[in-house]
């Protein structure tokens, strides 16, 4: 029994890692295709039908490329840094459930690797580790641009992690649990995006900064820092950093889908039908995948649309706007939950209402701040 359990864990872990590694490859293709369509191009279509072999061609190219190690670099850290960046991006998804419990040949199969009762806390702590990899990559390269990229990255990720963590808190409070399965179960009737739209917005914005996606891709701003922290990396080591970046995108989208968009649960218009996960449990991973693709498209879409934000504006936005706003959102959520428990469950709808008011106020304050500077210049 125990041995069978170990085998099951091993298989599940292997499947998850393989999905993430294959997912990285095809995410690059997805991004290139989507970006190309937005730019009225076709995108890669030479390697295989519709370019589906393009990631394999890229991988082969990267494997056979020459690997350079800069002179007077810290060799050990230089080799270790991509690993430190990649591993958290892979292990972070261990607590994300992909579906409800399946029964396969009379054996109960749980579709997650670990069921930790502090799942969200685990995500937060593991997500922070990958900053080390980026900072070390920048520092060990013995290159000032890489160094600056690494420093920017650490400052940016630490700043936005606070807003990200506080946006997690609202989901935790609404579910009353840090366990990912409980959070998904609590969204059976109502996704948290409806109960806490501002928290979700903060999450989505902070996510872009956490995974260094445009318009917050300061650590690898090509025009200012050549390529940022991975300027000196080549070959497979560069591929690992690249992979970490895209796996972080996948992981954070999975987490976002789980925390705010109902996880593996069906879309609202499919509840109480045959397509509900309660009736057909194997649809759980499918729904999660669909949500993942939509969220990833959002990231690609934002990349295609908005220009990069200036670095001081980025930090100011993180500390002066997102942090107070997320604190306010946490406060509103807490008060709303207490009111709903003590007085009337309808008070629950006070949470989105007041949060949206605060969000609107925040937008007005940002606009006023930017306009006042405009006025002073004239």
């Amino acid at each position: 029994m125990t041995f069978a359990l170990v085998i099951e864990w091993l298989i599940k872990g292997l499947v998850l890692v393989l999905i993430l590694l294959g997912g990285f490859a095809y995410l690059t293709l997805y991004e290139r295709k989507a970006l190309a369509r937005i730019q009225v191009r076709i995108g890669p279509n030479r390697a295989g039908p519709w370019g589906i072999l393009q990631p394999i061609a890229d991988a082969i190219k990267l494997i056979f490329k020459e690997e350079l190690t800069p002179a007077r670099s810290d060799k050990l850290l230089f080799i270790l840094a991509p690993v430190i960046t990649l591993v958290p991006a892979l292990v972070i998804t261990a607590v994300v459930p992909w579906g409800p419990t399946l029964t396969v040949f009379g054996h109960k199969l749980t579709l997650y690797i670990a069921d930790i009762n502090v799942g969200v806390l685990y995500i937060m702590s593991v997500a922070s580790i990958s900053v080390y990899g980026i900072v070390l990559a920048g520092w060990s390269s013995n290159n000032k641009y890489a160094m600056m990229g690494g420093m920017r990255s650490s400052a940016q990720m630490i700043s936005y992690e606070i807003a990200l963590g506080l946006s997690f808190v609202s989901a935790i409070m609404l579910a009353g649990s840090m366990r990912m399965l409980d959070i998904v179960a609590a969204q059976k009737n109502l996704w948290f995006v409806l109960l806490q739209p501002v928290g979700t917005a903060i999450f989505l914005i902070a996510t872009l900064a956490e995974v260094n996606r445009p318009p917050f891709d300061m650590p690898e701003a090509e025009q200012e820092l050549t390529a940022g922290y991975h300027a000196e990396y080549s070959g497979m080591k560069f591929a690992l950093l690249f992979m970490a970046e895209y796996d972080k995108m996948i992981a954070i989208s999975m987490i976002g889908a789980t925390l705010f968009f109902g996880g593996y649960r069906e879309f609202w218009f499919l509840s109480n039908t045959v397509f509900s996960v309660d009736r057909t449990p194997w649809l759980g991973p499918v729904y999660l995948f669909v949500k993942l693709v939509i969220l990833l498209f959002g990231m690609i879409w934002v990349r295609a649309t908005f220009p990069r934000i200036r670095y001081d504006r980025l930090m100011a936005f993180g500390w002066k706007v997102l942090l107070p706003l997320s604190l306010a959102v946490v406060f509103i959520t807490g008060v709303g939950i207490i009111l709903a428990e003590q007085i009337n469950p309808l008070w629950m709808w006070g949470i989105p209402a007041v949060s949206l008011l605060v969000g609107v106020f925040a937008i007005a304050m940002i606009d006023r701040e930017l306009r006042r500077k405009d006025y002073a210049r004239r």
Partner: protein, 172 residues
């Protein structure tokens, strides 16, 4: 307090990019699908022939003199009625263009008294070696159309005395 406008501006940006997703791609799938070149496009050179198959080039090397990149090399030899390549006294026994030097300015076209050299439509020049970049006369010379005798031809004496054709309309 402006609230709606900033959000609308962001949304408009996103809408623009989303809308462009549904436009027809402008991509031309190059090797399979080629865009026709413009009428005055200056591509790879072609050495023209007359209708009877004789070469228009008379080996005067005016193109080489006009070439600002010094890409053309011409060596001429005497025509005889037994072995006639072009009308008149002389023909180009060697005609080479270094495609790595050529800047496709078209001055050679302008300099040519017989309109022998013309910059054609072909822009697919690729070589794997510097030596391959020097195009000899055999590559530049226009192909033979059917029913035309190749050069050198055996001609009647006294027919092809003029190397530069007579102008039909001097104002042209």
């Amino acid at each position: 307090m402006r609230v709606v406008e900033p959000v609308v501006e962001l949304g408009r940006g996103l809408w623009t990019t989303l809308r462009s997703m549904f436009e027809k791609p402008v991509t031309i799938q190059y090797p399979e699908q080629k865009r026709p070149v413009r009428p005055r496009f200056r591509g790879r050179h072609v050495l023209k022939r007359y209708e009877n198959g004789l070469e228009k080039c008379i080996g005067c090397a005016l193109c080489a003199a006009a070439c600002p990149a010094d890409a053309i090399f011409v060596e001429s030899a005497e025509n005889t009625d037994q072995e006639r390549y072009s009308p008149g006294e002389r023909y180009a026994s060697t005609y080479e263009i270094n495609m790595l030097r050529c800047i496709y300015c078209g001055f050679c076209e302008d300099a040519c008294p017989t309109e022998a050299i013309v910059l054609g439509d072909n822009y697919e020049l690729s070589f794997t070696d510097r030596r391959q970049a020097i195009y000899p006369k055999e590559m530049l010379l226009e192909g033979m159309t059917t029913g035309v005798k190749p050069t050198p031809q055996k001609t009647e004496p006294g027919v092809y005395m003029r190397s530069v054709p007579e102008m039909k309309d001097p104002a042209d």
